[in-house]
């Protein structure tokens, strides 16, 4: 019975969805107290696997054993009863409910409200995760929300803690604090299944790693003993080359896009208002904007693209005030934009690619005359984007929602970049796209810049930003730092920019009394 050494053993686990095998014959083991990385690209099957462990997905074949006993949770409650807890990447907090209520919802038998508040206090002190039980989650910052999730898990004394992409919402300093918490837990004997595609983090934190590609285990390693590049190539299954720049970018005189004193309220419930944002982007230049999710990225893109109206002079294109113009008026001036959310914002899920090509291409590609749609021309435009950007689809009449995330992203980005733009606005250009396609999307963005477009790239992927940008800025609580040339920036400086230490009052009223990492360590 050597199996008993393992806390959780997964044996031949298989789960298929129509048209895709999410997990095929996956086997690995997690030892007590171990920090085990599950590494893979988006779509590699990590989420399905952890959902099976957490009882949200029922495997088609294969099984699991917990300390040698068969383990087949029928729902998350059963998983929690067996000592499994999970911190989700999205979708598990209730914004209109208080911290205490959110915590109570994640527990099997929550204590009375008074006792619960006391225990939240105890746990958050013990692990350095300060929280006010009475506050509404909607008013918390992304980092604080994650604390709610972690505290919720810790109150149940889990044997296995699953963390799904936990650092995508954190600043580098907050990541350090999280890692300290996780190491403490691990030392106390809690096993951690850590899901990520960020290789350096895994090298810094994890004892072992299992690598998934297209639903199968393609390798295992001890992260400290291999290079990030080796892990990346196992994960992607090919050798990687970074994009090339056509020419060294220099700020070419006239600013194409000027933003001065941009302040607007957020149209999104519990969103972040933009406060006095100012920057310029020259033709041919790429400005990269980083920031933890929910610090005003969505609002900034809406304001720049024209979906959110501002005062005319707050935004200028080639000197002309455009702040009050709508999206189509700005398109006429050469703006294109690709919002973060593909389904439902950048594309209509139930509509065909032809119809989705019309969505934003009508003006710059001349697809509508006198209010009448030229469907033939529209179809040709869609086919052009499909061919030029290697969009894998049965044809231009396929519905947007039938495409995989990566292919739809290629279509959406391609649709915008194929419009001869002068100003390009992109939020999360390669989110959910496989590494090879991501590299080609970045390459096209750089090509357009080389052709003279001013580009604003907003992303949570720091590596991506440092790769494509000429200058770098960060958003925090709706304020933006002074953009700085990428050359010579250190990771520490970037972290401080993202954390809000940029010479202004640190926390915004919306972010509340968020405690800063530095302050907490002091």
């Amino acid at each position: 019975m050597t199996d008993n050494a393992a806390l959780l053993a997964i044996r031949g686990l298989t789960k298929a969805y129509p048209g895709v095998v999410a997990n095929a014959d996956v086997s690995f083991e997690i030892a007590p107290g171990e920090v085990h990385a599950l590494l893979g690209e988006n779509g590699a099957g990590k989420s399905t696997l952890v959902k099976a462990i957490y009882g949200l997905v029922k495997p088609d074949a294969g099984g699991m054993a917990m300390r040698g006993q068969p383990y087949a949770p029928t729902d998350p409650r059963a998983a929690r009863a067996a000592g499994v807890a999970m911190v989700f990447q999205h979708f598990s907090l209730f914004e209109a409910l208080s911290v205490a209520e959110n915590v109570a919802l994640g527990m099997e038998k929550p204590p009375k409200p008074g006792d619960l508040a006391r225990r939240i206090g105890e746990v958050s002190r013990a692990y350095g995760l300060p929280l006010d039980p009475a506050r509404l989650v909607g008013d918390l910052s992304a980092g604080e929300r994650q604390r709610v999730e972690i505290v919720r898990c810790l109150l149940q004394d889990p044997k296995l803690l699953i963390m799904d992409e936990p650092t995508s919402v954190l600043t580098p300093q907050e990541v350090e604090i999280l890692f300290a918490t996780l190491r403490q837990l691990s030392a106390e004997g809690t096993a951690i299944l850590y899901i990520s595609h960020k290789l350096e983090e895994i090298r810094a934190l994890c004892d072992r790693a299992t690598i998934l590609r297209r639903g199968r285990v393609v390798g295992a390693c001890i992260p400290r003993e291999v290079s990030a590049r080796e892990m990346a190539e196992m994960m992607v299954g090919q050798t990687l080359t970074p994009p090339e720049r056509g020419q060294p970018a220099v700020a070419q005189g006239e600013p194409a896009l000027e933003v001065a004193g941009l302040s607007v309220a957020s149209p999104i419930p519990f969103g972040t208002a933009l406060k006095d944002i100012r920057f310029t982007v020259a033709a041919g230049e790429v400005l990269g904007i980083a920031g933890v999710a929910g610090n005003g990225q969505d609002e900034l893109l809406l304001a720049l693209s024209g979906e959110l109206a501002a005062a005319p002079g707050m935004i200028r294109a080639e000197g002309k005030p455009v702040g009050a113009l709508g999206p189509n008026a700005r398109r006429r001036l050469g703006f294109v934009s690709a919002p973060e959310e593909r389904l439902g914002h950048a594309a209509v899920p139930a509509m065909s690619l032809v119809e989705n090509a019309l969505l934003s291409g009508a003006i710059r590609r001349g697809l509508v005359k006198m209010g009448m749609i030229d469907w033939k021309k529209t179809k040709a435009f869609a086919e052009e984007v499909i061919a030029d950007y290697d969009v894998r689809t049965p044809g231009p009449q396929a519905a947007a929602r039938s495409l995989s995330g990566g292919n739809l992203q290629k279509f959406v980005v391609g649709r915008e970049l194929a419009q001869g733009p002068k100003v390009i606005l992109i939020n999360q250009p390669t989110w959910g796209v496989d590494a090879a396609a991501a590299a080609s999307i970045r390459q096209v963005i750089l090509n357009r810049a080389a052709e003279g477009a001013a580009v604003v790239v907003i992303s949570q992927d720091l590596d991506e930003l440092l790769e494509v940008s000429d200058r770098f800025a960060a958003l925090n609580g709706g304020r933006m730092t002074q953009p700085r040339p990428v050359k010579g920036l250190t990771m520490d400086e970037i972290g401080l920019m993202m954390g809000g230490a940029h010479g202004m009052s640190a926390a915004s009223p919306e972010a509340g009394d968020m405690v800063h990492p530095e302050a907490r360590q002091a």
Binding site: P18, P327, G344, H345, A346, V348, A350, L359, R401
Partner: protein
């Protein structure tokens, strides 16, 4: 185990097949209902669906088909604009009554002069009345974010009281011997909406309905405006991305549906109804909701659905006479049809799988 699995894109076959299936299922369920009421189900179904067209009294009932289908189609076409954009005008009944009231007021103010412009002026006033009545929920929604569903519906009851006030008060026929109700437009040729071809039941409302079907078909298929309506309904954020102003969309959709309902009202009051009475609101505005859904918000579908629904109205009346089936039965019947339609709709968007998923 039965599971639903979302289709990558809606099935075209099922989109067309579900209304047909829903009608068949309603006939079966209706038959059971009639059997429970102690009627012969086969006879009842035949009386409702067959006799109006081919039965003994078909020469009387056949023209009624166009009389009833006209307003249903006209209103449903208007509603389809809003429903496609997820703007829920369910107060078409009120807009229909106000259209009739506004148009009739213009006509009766001109009584008894004879001028060829009177009828066109009344039609314009009817459309305007319905349009303005629909602007109330539209403007409140844009300005204050008030639910257009509740406001438009409340306004039906207000319109009903206004109609009643008119029939008892300001539009009461001075020569009506004190009975409530306005002058009859049959006695006022310049304002009358006659049967255009004898024995067909076709009046100007029917012509307007056909024109509306054609116009809607062209707008939905070829015009950017039609495309924008669909985008607004399918994905509001994508609509804003495409430069569609939600407020303008609300105004346009509620305005169109209000104006068409108003038109239906003025054609009805000057034609088949003949006068403003308290009973003028006959539920066309509500039945048109069923027509719009049954026709899949598609203009040609609405044309067919309107004719079918008109058939059930006439069939219901015949069944009331011949089989003494209660008149309310037909309303229950229509509601059932909508239930079945919504239930079968699942087939267009989902695959129904039985058993476990297989490996792909």
């Amino acid at each position: 185990m039965i599971r639903l699995e979302r289709r990558p894109q809606p099935s075209r076959v099922w989109v067309i097949a579900t209304p047909v299936l829903a009608v068949i299922a309603t006939m079966i369920a209706g038959g059971i209902l009639f059997a429970m009421l102690g009627k012969n189900p086969v006879e009842a179904i035949r009386t409702i669906f067959w006799d109006p067209l081919f039965g003994d009294y078909a020469s009387y009932s056949r023209p009624q088909l166009l009389v009833k289908a006209g307003p249903l189609i006209l209103i449903a076409i208007g509603l389809s604009f809003g429903f496609r954009a997820q703007i829920w005008n369910i107060g078409a009944e009120g807009q229909y009554m106000i259209g009739a009231l506004a148009g009739a007021s213009v006509g009766l103010a001109a009584y008894p002069t004879d001028n060829p412009l009177i009828f066109p002026a009344m039609v314009a006033a009817g459309a305007l009345g319905g349009f303005l009545w629909a602007m109330i929920p539209a403007l409140l929604k844009i300005r204050f974010g008030t639910s257009e569903i509740l406001v438009s519906l409340m306004l039906v009851y207000v319109a009903q009281q206004l109609l009643s006030a008119a029939a008892f008060g300001f539009l009461r026929n001075p020569e009506g011997m004190g009975f409530p109700g306005s002058r009859n437009f049959q006695d006022f040729p310049a304002a009358h909406n006659p049967e255009l071809i004898e024995g067909t039941g076709l009046h100007w409302g029917g012509i307007a309905a056909v024109l509306a079907v054609i116009a809607a078909q062209v707008i939905f298929a070829r015009f950017l405006f039609g495309f924008q309506i669909r985008v607004a309904g399918e994905a509001p954020r994508a609509a804003r991305f495409a430069g569609v102003k939600p407020g303008a969309m609300t105004l346009a959709c509620l305005g169109i549906s209000g104006a068409l309902a108003g038109l239906a009202g003025i054609f009805e009051v000057t034609g088949p109804a003949g006068q403003v009475t308290t009973e003028f609101g006959s539920g066309y505005g509500f039945t048109a909701i069923i027509v719009a859904f049954l026709g899949r918000l598609n203009p040609l579908g609405i044309l067919l659905a309107g004719l079918l629904m008109a058939l059930t109205y006439i069939g219901g009346e015949i069944a009331q006479l011949m089989l003494s089936l209660p008149s309310a039965a037909i309303q229950a019947f229509q509601g059932m049809l909508l239930f079945f339609l919504l239930a079968f709709d699942v087939l267009a968007n989902f695959r129904v799988r039985i058993g476990k998923a297989r490996l792909a």
